[in-house]
């Protein structure tokens, strides 16, 4: 079973390097990334594709929303939940 720490580390690294292109950005786990204006809603699908390729999980369309994927904590929970189910 993949751990919270591993998922968190991989997701954070991907967001900082590939989306923000700023590995030094001090992203907080509960920081609203989309509603907080750091990344736009187009990036949701980019994260979903990364999750699918890295963790082998397809995030259902219904959960592919700004409301469900706004913070790192939410994304990690989503991945772990899907992995469990």
């Amino acid at each position: 079973m993949i751990s919270d720490t591993v998922v968190r580390k991989k997701l954070k690294s991907f967001i900082l390097k590939e989306i923000l292109r700023n590995p030094a950005y001090p992203m907080k786990p509960d920081e609203p990334l989309i509603s907080g204006g750091l990344i736009d809603s187009f990036s949701v699908v980019q994260i979903a594709v990364f999750v699918e390729e890295t963790f082998g999980i397809v995030i259902p369309d219904a959960e592919l929303t700004v409301e469900d994927m706004d913070t790192l904590n939410q994304m990690v929970a989503l991945v772990l939940n899907e992995k469990r189910s």
């Binding site: 923000l20 700023n22 989309i34 907080g36 750091l38 736009d40 187009f42 699908v45 594709v49 700004v66």
Partner: protein, 572 residues
């Protein structure tokens, strides 16, 4: 894809003499598919028109349609036309919720809107915002009485009274672009002629209906030409861009379009498993428009989808804006948009076009926006308004049958924009062999994903954050080929003593506030001390914004940057 679209749901044959053939297929945010026949549209639009008339609204008065991507929106739009009133469509509140309501309020005063039609869940918020503006609220979904309008008044008699397109101005204030029915009719006819519309054509669109591309291209043009259009929820497309390709396959789509960034979004994020079985060979026109067209984005799209039957000659492009209803130029049908390679530095420094071989290290590709549409003239002029010959860069001017009448509530701006009988676009371009090439902007505007954003609107929002020096904020866009559009950068001067927490906290606070007010994501917030950014007495920036952009582009990661001649800037 879980969107409820079956592969056998192609558009049936149509009998154009009847009102029963399919006009629109609407795919909503949840993926539900709504099929709307002309008869169905007519019946519901008549009910909406009847409701509108009961409110006492008079001909040519102005109505806001603040509705989600839904069949209701189509019914009310056509209801407005049948009732002879002039609509404007607003998408509902997105992430910039606060800013959306504020903008609606400001525009309602600007254009003297009499009525706003909205869904019950947005009505109370809207009521609060519009309470002292004289604009009444009409909620959808109320129990409609039977229409007392003459059922014999069919669509063939419908005259579009006009439309007001709301777009971002360069001053931070929205522009309300007033289009006459005559201008819209001319545009719709010319576009259909230019596209050589045939009875078996099918338009597929995934832009919001508040966008001129969608409204005129995917609603009014197909309706007038009696061909069906599939209107995909833009939210759904953003989440799963392959839906556009799937719908083109399933419905036999022949004509579609996206902003340049949409080409990149589809190419990068339509997954192989979602593309299984898709055949795009029926697609004969795929237009790249609404923001600068990049050769790399077109190529990326072609490389990704040619294995699925996408034809190279389907790649088209155009140039246009709300003030011309939509497109003013369009590339030739059946030919890929021409690309030329020019000396980039010569163009920027001297305004001269020097053609280079593709392999030259200084060569920069520029994609043609095509030739002027029917009944349209394009002219390139110098700073004094004198026409330039081919190959010189100057302001793009337009004359056409589909030009706007005025900016509502702004006589001075109208006079300036329509001086000498031409529309002064504020864009830079050049002409070669009658083809128009876009070369930049004189006007202060950022375009992200086809959405016009006023830098002043962002600057104003950033200035509201405590600790920011009033008027000392600069917003600009930086072109990023990897996403096919501009990234937004803010440079803000701070009062050190009021700096709340660390500079990261401050930047976060600015970004969150700007997003809440405008819905715009900011790629980078840079803080500087006072004195680096100055405004003149009339509020204009004393520094040269274009120069800042150019320098900033290659220096986002460095600490020190030359910002004006002889001055260095230090980011905090």
């Amino acid at each position: 894809m879980g969107d409820g679209i079956s592969s056998s749901s192609g558009i049936e044959k149509r009998d154009h003499k009847s009102t029963e053939f399919l006009s629109f297929v609407l795919i909503d945010d949840s993926g539900n598919v709504h099929r709307i026949t002309r008869e169905n549209l007519l019946g519901n639009a008549l009910r909406c028109a009847s409701d509108l008339q009961k409110t006492g609204i008079g001909p040519s008065q102005h109505v806001f349609l603040i509705l989600p991507h839904s069949v209701e929106l189509l019914y009310w739009l056509f209801g407005c036309f049948l009732a002879g009133v002039v609509p404007s469509i607003f998408s509902g509140p997105g992430r910039g919720e606060e800013g959306t309501w504020e903008r609606i309020r400001n525009v309602s005063v600007q254009v003297n809107a009499i009525l706003a039609v909205t869904v019950p869940e947005w009505a109370s918020r809207l009521e609060l915002e519009l309470k002292d503006t004289g604009c009444q609220i009409l909620q959808t979904g109320s129990k409609w009485p039977e229409s007392d309008m003459n059922r014999g008044q069919y669509f063939q008699d419908m005259k579009i009274p006009g439309y007001v397109q709301i777009t971002s101005g360069t001053t931070g204030r929205s522009k309300a672009v007033v289009l006459s029915g005559k201008a819209i009719d001319a545009y719709v006819y010319n576009m259909a002629t230019e596209l050589e519309i045939k009875p078996d054509d099918v338009v597929v669109n995934c832009l919001p209906l508040s966008h001129d591309f969608a409204l005129f291209g995917a609603v009014l043009m197909p309706f007038s030409a009696k061909i069906p259009a599939v209107l995909i929820s833009p939210f759904r497309w953003v989440r799963r861009p392959a839906i556009l390709l799937r719908v083109i396959h399933d419905y036999g789509g022949t004509i579609s379009w996206l902003p340049n960034s949409g080409f990149v979004h589809c190419a990068r994020f339509a997954l192989d498993r979602e593309m299984e079985g898709i055949d795009l060979s029926r697609l004969r026109v795929m237009i790249n428009g609404a923001e600068p067209v990049l050769h790399s984005s077109n190529q990326l799209f072609l490389d990704r989808f040619s294995p699925y039957g996408l034809r190279e000659d389907a790649l088209a492009s155009g140039y246009g804006m709300a003030e011309n209803t939509l497109a003013a130029t369009f590339t030739s049908l059946g030919e890929r948009s021409p690309v030329i390679f020019i000396h980039g530095q010569d163009l920027v420094t001297n305004g001269v076009v020097r053609i280079l071989p593709e392999t030259d290290p200084d060569a920069v590709p520029v994609v043609s926006c095509g030739k002027a549409l029917r009944e349209t003239k394009i002219q390139i002029v110098d700073q004094d308004g004198h026409p330039f010959p081919e190959g010189r860069v100057g302001e793009i001017l337009i004359q056409s049958m589909s030009l706007f009448s005025k900016y509502a509530g702004d006589k001075a701006l109208t006079k300036k924009a329509l001086a000498d009988g031409w529309f002064h676009t504020g864009d830079l371009g050049f002409i070669l062999q009658n083809e128009l090439f876009f070369a930049g902007r004189i006007k202060d505007l950022i375009i992200v994903g086809g959405r016009n954003i006023s830098p002043m609107e962002l600057e104003k929002a950033a200035t509201e954050v405590p600790g920011i020096r009033p008027g000392q904020v600069v917003a600009f866009g930086v072109q990023d080929e990897s996403i096919g559009t501009e990234r937004v950068v803010l440079v803000c001067a701070v009062r050190n003593r009021e700096l709340a927490g660390t500079k990261d906290d401050m930047a976060r606070m600015i970004r969150q506030h700007v997003a809440r007010k405008t819905g715009v994501a900011i790629s980078d917030v840079k803080l500087v001390r006072g004195g680096w950014i100055e405004r003149t007495v009339n509020g204009k920036l004393a520094i040269d914004r274009v120069f800042v952009c150019a320098d900033f582009h290659c220096s986002l990661t460095v600490r020190r940057e030359k910002i004006t001649e002889g001055k260095d800037i230090t980011f905090l």
